[in-house]
Amino acid sequence: MDGTVALLAAVIVASTPLLFAAIGELVAERSGVLNLGVEGMMLAGAVTGFAVTLTTGSHLVGIGSAAVAGAAMALVFAVLTLSLMANQVATGLALTIFGVGLSALVGSSFVGTPLPRLPRLDIPGLSDLPVVGPLLFRHDVLVYGAVALTLAVAWFLAKTRGGMILRAVGENHEAAHGLGYNVIHIRYLAVLFGGLCAGLGGAFLSIAYTPMWIEQMTAGRGWIALALVVFAAWRPLRVLVGAYLFGGVTILQLHAQGLGLFAVPSQVMSMLPYIATIIVLVVISIGPWKARLQAPACLGRPFLPTN
């Protein structure tokens, strides 16, 4: 029983960075911008969060700086693709490669330095409940934050005028422009939000999940987050489900490795989350779900204001 609860709690923790990155990317994509630089923005957040927490001793300042670092990377992307009309796919890929290099350079002096883990934030009363307490209410602030952020994004997109405008811009940018909305301005904000979230996801990895700096410690999570958005058919609450699913696969393979189950090399087990990603993407693209058909109609299309 305790083992199961611990396992499920671990799934929630493992899904947190995916949730941050995916919900941010979802907002950017709903506005019509495909930013493939999630991995790079996460790495920038991870190394910044770690370095700032180490030097200032404050986790909160570290988390804030990570968000700013992610947003700064996103700003580079936004200037290139939205103002200078560079190709979104190529720019996103470049941003990831840039993030890998930059974070390795910045983080080279921190490799191997330990950092106190982001403390648990117990909620009086709730944390002491049996089963539910250890499962849901003995986590750090970022775990709670990721879930809250997802719910907030779901509410924003469905219920507010701002969310409606954002969806409209992603759906038909010409028409939105014709109605007097500033497409480029709205997309800038969405892309910056995406970077901010990716930065938070990175910070969670380097100051809470494994509180140390390791080169390329995101290990492809940015790419999984991108797949998650498609898997979720651009719906925030489905991102939540998807993140737990992928978090679950990650934890399962770790435990299977630890227990020495299956006589296969550990590398094969480590591949599992990524193989699962590919399989899920193939299935939902060809199956009755036809996820690709639910994409925002203007996703990835550059907008050049006329007259």
Binding site: M164, R167, A168, E171, N172
Partner: protein, 525 residues
């Protein structure tokens, strides 16, 4: 004392001039629209109507000229400024958001509207008052083209406009929907709203409008009263010269079917597309068969299946006795099928390639323009030259880029390219869409000539007038299903219109949801 002046016209334009590099789109244009008047703006494609309207709606700024609104000179800097004056516009190509609801689509156009519940009530209220039933909760992709247009009109009406601009509003409507739209427009005019009605359909203008301004080549050629003028005289003013209407031979050869479609089912590959359900018809040798229907009822899917762009069951399509359903476009061309797609640029022709290269694209097999995969440029060039001459395409020669041709000339080239491959079966989608009257007449004549030589011709078009002129028989596609074929000339316009509307879109079908929402709204007051 001066005599009391007549009230100033609602909108008066004088000396409007707008030049683009190489083109004078508007030259000394004058236009006056009175209060409560339905004023037609008439002209062919490229006559300068769109430019003028964009100037009125604040999308473009004129180079010269004066705009007076209710007697007062104004400068309309943006569509927002136009809306603030009280100018509303319904575009020919709707600017709607497919994945959003009717309510959201309207709310996006209303600044500062905070109370969505109340807005939904107002939408229902206005749509009822003007006979434009709309359910605010439905998503746009579920709606017919006619319903989509209602959203645009209601969106304008909610802002209580004084001038409503309608750009070719009937090109996508069934005859019944057109009648109903006219009722709405007359009601608006009787309430004092001025309407600027842009069209090139003369019978509509005669039926609806109080005054007309006719443009040609960027200039106003006449102001007239359409109730007095004949359709013929207005056509002459619009086109500038008499043109020959195509001759339809009295009797045509009716031989064996050359092209058969049997119970064709096809799921749409688009999110908001229409799947085909058991479509069956046959086109006989020497016959022109028409498929009418409002856009988005499965035409795209049908054409993809017929051309071979989406292969289907082998038995579903028979070309001259050969089972062709599973074949791709090239193999079908080998069987004698020629295809003129709806979209000239990017589907029928590649804009950046020369005419010779574009000729090669579809004719390389039947005109032997390749040797072991190597292009025989001399032959391709000669073939393009032949098309240009036989179909009087205005182009500098085979080396002209496709993008350098006007729409009508490029369409003539595409039609000629297919016809000169001596097909057994020709499929033409919207062959004269966006083409000037002269080119349209030439294309129609070419299709009729082809049929007299025993070719089976299929024309898929939204333009009912075109099908009535060309076809021997026609059927109507609605919601992915094809009606039984009607003999053209025997079928009434009303019958065809009802089929186009799927027989369900009758004037009184105001959904129950709206009544509920109205009650809610009334209670809230």
């Amino acid at each position: 004392m001066a005599p009391p002046a007549a009230p100033a016209p609602r909108l008066a334009l004088t000396g409007i001039r707008k030049a683009y590099p190489g083109v004078l789109a508007n030259d000394d244009v004058a236009l006056t629209v009175e209060e409560g008047e339905i004023h037609a703006l008439l002209g062919e494609n490229g006559a300068g109507k769109s430019t003028l309207v964009k100037i009125i709606y604040g999308v473009l700024a004129p180079d010269e000229g004066e705009i007076r609104w209710a007697g007062r000179p104004v400068r309309i800097a943006s569509p927002n400024a136009a809306r603030q004056l009280g100018i509303g516009m319904v575009f020919q190509h709707f600017s709607l958001f497919e994945a959003l609801s009717v309510l959201e689509n309207v709310a996006l156009g209303m600044d500062g509207e905070k109370n969505w519940q109340a807005l939904a009530g107002r939408i229902v209220e206005v749509s009822r008052a003007y006979g434009l039933p709309l359910d605010p909760t439905r998503e746009v992709h579920e709606l017919s083209v006619g319903e989509r247009q209602r959203i645009e009109i209601v969106r304008c009406l909610l802002q209580a406009p004084k001038l409503l601009i309608m750009d070719e509003p009937t090109s996508v409507l069934t005859p019944q929907e057109v009648d109903r739209l006219f009722l709405t427009l007359r009601q608006l005019a009787s309430e004092g709203v001025s309407i600027l009605y842009i069209s090139h359909k003369l019978h509509e203008i005669k039926a609806l409008c109080d005054a007309a301004t006719i443009m040609r080549g960027g200039k106003v050629v006449a102001h007239c009263d359409p109730k007095v003028e004949t359709a013929r005289s207005m056509a002459t003013l619009m086109v500038g010269s008499n043109f020959a209407a195509p001759e339809k031979p009295a009797k045509r050869l009716k031989r064996a079917p050359r092209f058969q479609v049997n119970a064709l089912d096809l799921e749409s590959s688009e999110a908001f597309g229409t799947s085909l359900k058991e479509v069956s018809f046959e086109v006989r040798a020497g016959e022109i068969f028409g498929i009418a229907g409002v856009a988005g009822n499965g035409q795209t899917e049908l054409l993809a299946a017929l051309s071979g762009e989406r292969p289907v069951e082998a038995e579903a399509i028979i070309i001259d006795g050969n089972r062709a359903g599973a074949l791709g476009p090239r193999a079908r061309r080998g069987l004698g099928l020629a295809y003129i797609p709806e979209e000239r640029n990017g589907h029928a022709a590649i804009p950046d390639l020369t005419l010779a290269e574009n000729a090669l694209l579809s004719a390389f097999d039947r005109r032997a323009l390749l040797t072991n995969g190597v292009i025989r440029f001399a032959r391709a060039s000669a073939f393009a030259e032949e098309v240009i001459e036989r179909f009087s395409v205005k182009a500098t020669g085979p080396d002209a880029r496709a993008s350098s041709l006007s729409g009508g000339n490029l369409q003539k080239f595409v039609v000629g390219r297919e016809i000169l491959q001596a097909p057994n079966v020709l499929i033409a989608a919207q062959p004269t869409w966006g083409v000037d009257a002269g080119a349209a007449a030439a294309i129609h004549q070419a299709l009729l000539d082809l049929a007299t030589h025993g070719v089976a011709v299929l024309v898929v078009s939204q333009d009912l007038d075109e099908l009535l002129v060309l076809t021997d028989r026609m059927a109507v596609i609605n919601g992915g299903r094809l009606s039984r074929p009607l003999v053209t000339g025997e079928a009434t316009l009303e019958e065809i219109g009802l089929l186009m509307g799927g027989l369900h879109d009758l004037p009184d079908d105001i959904p129950a949801v709206e009544t509920a929402a109205v009650n809610q709204h009334v209670q809230a007051l």
